[in-house]
Symmetry: C2
Subunit: 206 residues, 2 copies
DNA sequence: ATTTTTTTATTGAACGTTCAATCAATAAAA
DNA sequence: TTTTATTGATTGAACGTTCAATAAAAAAAT
């Protein structure tokens, strides 16, 4: 089997296997053997490509966060409307993107979040992403309301988004993305209603 | 030291020590030795009183959840006003109670939440508490709005509360309870504004 | 084209560490 | 003297890491 140029392939395999393992048995029991078996390779390969288990976990978290950032960026770049509502809507949509919300990614995200409380490297990654989300939201809200109100709106919506993720990760059926998006958009409409008073985008949800 | 009637004392000591240890180093590194050292007893005592480490963790989670329930109950029973807004406000206040929000309890809560994804016993406990919160919220909202809207309001507010907890557990400074309560109350006011149209209780926050 | 050499990728058994659980020994109170 | 509470060294299992051995591909030589 050994060919040249295996590195990127193996790295991706192992990252995917890590998410699958965490989805299956949780971070605590996601051992190197279980992960490597999932990827169809031996345990030693993890240290070879990632320097150790910690390196693999860090790379996995990095991927989840960059995927999330990309999902938002794609929707932002595709916007025709330049309104604050449209921008914030794109952030909401990106955060409830299919690839993010689906099983393995969501459970892994929560596991890392909890883990990052006591692992400085993971905490740093979490912080960077967190600040970007807040900063983006705040910037958009500031276009239609005063600073203090914008700050509170941004914090409220960020909490709402994370709360929906959190609850979605726990339910056995996984997150109902459609419902989550509806709730977040409705909240956004309420926040904007106090200032912009533009008519909310139509929300079709039953 | 050995006296009679040590059991309830030791149990409480160990539960507190568990939260302290998780607050310090996280669930993954909260070993029986670290916990017992925190409580000033030997490692063997954990198996003696809780049947093993898992028993201690389960008891700790139970305590956190019952404390939360009590914090809500106290405020509900102290209500003079019987309005839906007052009831829901009591739920919010209870969820951001001092003892719940302060360091150890908050970090432990999040650690257990993540852990409960793959431990049936913890998941069961989480589910019971979760359903009660949702059920209470839903019941109160139904007093002032139709069923579908009440359901969504309950889910939204539950997500908001959990999201604020989640973000509070991660920040090094701990949760800013005052700000969290303000955001939750403001959201509640917005939800009610669409139906009851009673004037919101005055929120003083700068 | 075929064989030999070199490089790259991978394995898996062995090692040292860490942990939870156990239980015989102990010590204080009843 | 009996009962209750506690200890801590020991045990066995599980884990991540390491590394000599191996196997396949690529490159070089014939």
């Amino acid at each position: 089997m050994p060919k040249v140029g295996m590195e990127p392939i193996r790295r991706q395999q192992l990252i995917n296997a890590t998410m699958a393992a965490i989805d299956e048995v949780g971070l605590a029991e996601a051992t190197v053997m279980r992960i490597s078996r999932h990827a169809g390779v031996s345990a030693g390969i993890i240290s070879h490509y990632f320097g150790g288990k910690d390196g693999l976990l860090e790379a996995t978290m990095r991927q989840i966060l960059t995927d999330l950032t990309k999902a938002v960026a794609v929707r932002r770049d595709a916007l025709e409307d330049d309104s604050a509502r449209a921008h914030i809507g794109a952030i909401i949509e990106g955060n409830f993107d299919r690839t993010q919300v689906t099983g393995p990614a969501a459970k892994t995200w929560l596991a890392f979040w909890a883990s990052s409380m006591h692992k400085p490297m993971l905490q740093r990654l979490q912080n960077v992403n967190d600040r970007r989300l807040y900063s983006n939201l705040c910037h958009q809200f500031r276009r239609v309301m005063p600073r203090t109100e914008a700050r509170n709106a941004a914090r409220g919506l960020a909490a709402m988004i994370d709360g929906l993720w959190l609850r979605g990760a726990l339910t056995t059926e996984g997150l109902n993305a459609e419902e989550a998006r509806f709730l977040a958009h409705t909240y956004l409409d309420q926040l904007l209603a106090h200032y912009g008073c533009q008519q909310p985008a139509s929300n079709t949800y039953s």
